[in-house]
């Protein structure tokens, strides 16, 4: 644990160093790495309560509320996620556990208290909806940078503009996506997905960022279906980093008895 902590610090140091160098000198790879780190790897672990509002094209709303725990197994590498639902009331206690791997398929488990069932979800496509929202599983746990070819296509005062195309073996609905990486936070302020016809159809944007425990942290984000006008807003509250969550809780065994201690605000 301690070692990992230092790894994290070292990484941060690197990041600061990188940021202090003239931005134009960053290579695409460096930008991607920094963005990936800033988006998915701040701290060694983290906890946040998420509130999600799913709004369809007719303006009808659905709510989801869940606590999310994250633990990095290695920097820019494997991670553990645990998502415990609290609302709507009838899905309360539903748990999703993900052991994310870089070199192999993720392990995913599910606990459904209403059916008294623990189930493993077979590896496969991660571009399925995250519990009915416009987010994909991949948006939550992070799309591996290695899946796509990236190209730096521009710069403005605040952003690096990247264009990414899926590698040939990737089965995805988009033809390419354009990300605007914030030069200060290295977070992707906006990612727009384009289809075969070059039409923008999906947008993921950061709505609010706060500095929490020294990390630039996304506290509100939004995904929009640009074709139907439907969208999902997510808000993160009660965010805490480096809680030193034991890795034992990210195991199949704790699905039926979620670790109350770590789930409290």
């Amino acid at each position: 644990m301690l070692k990992r902590f230092f790894d994290g610090q070292k990484w941060l140091l690197c990041l600061l160093l990188v940021q202090s160098i003239a931005h134009a000198e960053l290579t695409v790879e460096q930008i991607i790495e920094a963005a990936n780190a800033a988006s998915y790897y701040p701290g060694d672990d983290a906890r946040a309560e998420a509130r999600m509002k799913i709004v369809d094209a007719q303006g009808r709303k659905q709510m989801r509320q869940f606590m999310m725990l994250r633990q990095d197994v290695e920097e820019q590498g494997a991670q553990n996620f645990m998502v415990v639902f609290s609302r709507p009331a009838d899905v309360k206690g539903t748990v999703l556990l993900v052991n994310k791997h870089i070199d192999k398929d993720d392990d995913r488990w599910l606990y459904l208290p209403g059916l008294d069932l623990v189930k493993r979800i077979a590896a496969g496509d991660k571009r399925t909806s995250f519990v009915g929202s416009h987010f994909f599983y991949e948006d939550v746990s992070g799309r591996l940078p290695s899946y796509d070819h990236h190209q730096l296509t521009g710069n403005d005062e605040q952003h690096y503009i990247l264009r990414s195309e899926p590698k040939a073996d990737q089965q995805v609905a988009f033809a390419h996506y354009v990300s605007k990486i914030n030069k200060q936070t290295m977070l992707p302020d906006e990612v727009v997905y384009f289809n075969d016809k070059g039409k923008a159809y999906r947008k993921v944007e950061i709505v609010q960022t706060k500095n929490i425990d020294g990390f630039n942290t996304v506290t509100a984000a939004k995904v929009s279906d640009l074709i139907s006008g439907a969208y999902t807003q997510i808000q993160f509250r009660h965010i805490k980093y480096n809680l030193e969550i034991p890795s034992t809780i990210f195991s199949e065994r704790s699905l039926r008895n979620p670790p109350a201690k770590w789930l409290k605000r």
């Binding site: 799913i54 094209a57 009808r60 599910l110 189930k119 399925t128 599983y137």
Partner: protein, 844 residues
Amino acid sequence: MKEKVIHFSLNHPKSIYWLMLLLTLGISAMIPMIQIDTDPENMLSSDQADRVFHNKVKHQFQLHDMIVVGAVNTQHEQGIFNVKSLAAIDELTKNIVAIDGVITADLMSLSTIDNIEQAGVGTVKFEWMMAQPPTTEEQALAIRQKVERLPLMMGTLVAEDNKATAIYVPIKDKNESYRISQDIQQHIDQLDSGDQYYMTGLPVAEDTFGFEMFVQMGISAPLAGAFIFALVWWFFRSFVMALAPMAVAMATVLMTMGLLIGSGFTVHIMSSMIAIFLMPIAVVDSVHIISEFADRFKPGADVRKVIAEVVGHLFTPMLYTSITSSVGFFSLMLTPIPPVQIFGAFVGLGILLAFAWTIVYVPAYISRMSDEQLIAMQKRLHGTQSGSRMHRILKATGLFATARAKPLLVIFTGVFAISVWGITHIQINDNPVRWFKSDHKIRVADQALNTHFSGTYDAFLTFSLRAEAKERWLTSMNNFVGSHTDLLNNPLFAEWLATTKEQKDSTIENVLPGLEDVLDGAPEHLQPALESLLELLEKESSEQRLFTQPEWLNYLAGLQLSLQNSGYVGKSNSVVDLVKTVNRELRDGSAQNFVVPERQAGVAQALLQFQSSHRPQDLWHLVTPDYSQGVVWLQLKSGDNQDMSQVMAHVDAYIAKHPLPDTIAMKWAGKTYINLIWQQQMVAGMADSLISAFVVVFIMMVVLFRSLIFGFLAMLPLSITITFIYGLIGWIGKDYDMPIAVLSALTLGLSVDFAIHFLERARSLYRQTQSFSATINAMFTEPATAITRNAIVIAIGFTPLLLAPLVPYITVGIFLATIMAVSALVTLVALPAVLTVFKSILAR
């Protein structure tokens, strides 16, 4: 008055020509603004309650207009599930997705649907059903086995017999369906899988219908004009003379259509028939004038004097016949069916217009014909065989009618009685798809797809939590706050409560996060009360989520099972099928777990898993996101109104036996249901319009003849005719459908014309001759000839409809021709027979 009109006509022929030409050109200039309307839904007005609800359901459950593409393979032993066919489906799907105007997210094809299945012990798997087309026949068969486990797809996306699969293509705007279906057809033509492809769906049907309507208007109406022209030419043996009625007919048709289109009305199937209706009706008055003129004009006579005499003489009967005919059509405005109303209004208007033009134009025209032309016509007319042949036949008819008067009246009474009995056997039924001929590609596709799939006709049975039940939580919340008044001292809570009450459509789910924020910031002593309130509201929220409650889902399952067993529906789909499927796969995939989970939380969690698939939006075609409303989608193999009625009766019986909870309301929607509604409204509306037309025409007859008995006499032939025709429909079992319903009232107005002319002339002849036999003799010369000519003109005028590509036109053609012929015959036989038996009537 009438003298003034006639004199004006005779004295200013050129002005009249110019006036008619300019008005016709001016008004018909609006015709190019034509807007075709082929939506059967428009048979109901846009604010009709069932239609409004149907569209609300369509919107709420995102039920888009769909083009249905069906692929059938009857050759391969694995049916459509073979490498080649599935590759074609995949290729076609990819091409269709790329077409503009297609709602990609809701497109359903083997290539775009999601599958949930077991992947080893304790593992569940979500994946595309056919991410890649299979490369081996085993893989192709495996896809078949996967689909088989998805009850929502079997029979809907894939045929139970393996031989067919479908692509459902939702489109944004149905006005684009022609372009989209052409694009799809092009892609289909490029496939070489050897499968049979069919394309149908309402938007395609409507487009084709609109096209056929243009064909009808472009071919049948001009053809009717040509037929009528030839007939009039033949009747009067004068090309020049035949031009007069044609000019009146053309002016009438063009002006009426110009006015209709210029007033902003769309041209619906009914109004597309205006031209062909007006064409023969518009020439009728002219035929009367020319007939009598030809009879009276002798060489050397003063044309202007003769024509003035003829028109003066015919003015009143022509005015009355025009008004009665237009009354028949105007009575259609009493039906609640907008296209029928517009049709009635404009044909009625056209008839009055035709009368006006006949009175001012025809005398002017005849007066300007040269003496040579008139004498030549005269010679040919009186020298021909056929003219006298018609006279001979009519004379024999008159003799027969008077000689056999009593037995004839007994026969007419008998026929009338049997007809009334036949009417009680009438089967009311319609189905817009049957408006296409049975060999039409739409009908062929319809038949092929309904053979392989569970049914292409939709009806939606909707269930929703009643408003009282939905608002109950507000009362619970107020009661709670009433007994915990200390909460109101907390400003955050007070604010939350105020906003909650203010928002009219606030749902529990939307206000809970705010309450939680209050809880976060509240002092310790208020926390227990706030926690209890949260709990209370969460409980209320669960109770509102009707479609996650196992008892309710099991009720629906029972209803669906009973519908399936009834045999009236091909298949029914609801969220129950989806919940059972997900539950089965989440457990162990075994058939015994194909059940609704025992607890509401179990249902909700199964649905949350479904929403974690590639197509979470599919859920919202079955329930609303607040789960307080849902539909059972019924697939029927037939769109006949009668079949829909049977389904509805079955549901009613089931609910009578298994009462719905008080808090739940049930309502129907769907195209098949809407068709049933307008059909019912049409039948009810037609009764009103028939009765009112009858009463108005009867009163007019009494006024015209200044005699109650003559009023009855005038109504007699048409009553016998209409009763006979509808009795016949009852006896031969032809469905009473849209065209047949519409015709009842309007034929009344048309067929009374014969009786008016007959009685008017008979009475004036009797006044002149004071002899019954002399009257009858004279009646069966020129007056009977004019009536017969008119009957033939109208009957023949409608026959081009027999060549029309759409069945309702054909029905109208046959039906009107028959009614005209029969009513002329009945007039010429029944009226003299009655007058013979009751001789004293004429003397009145």
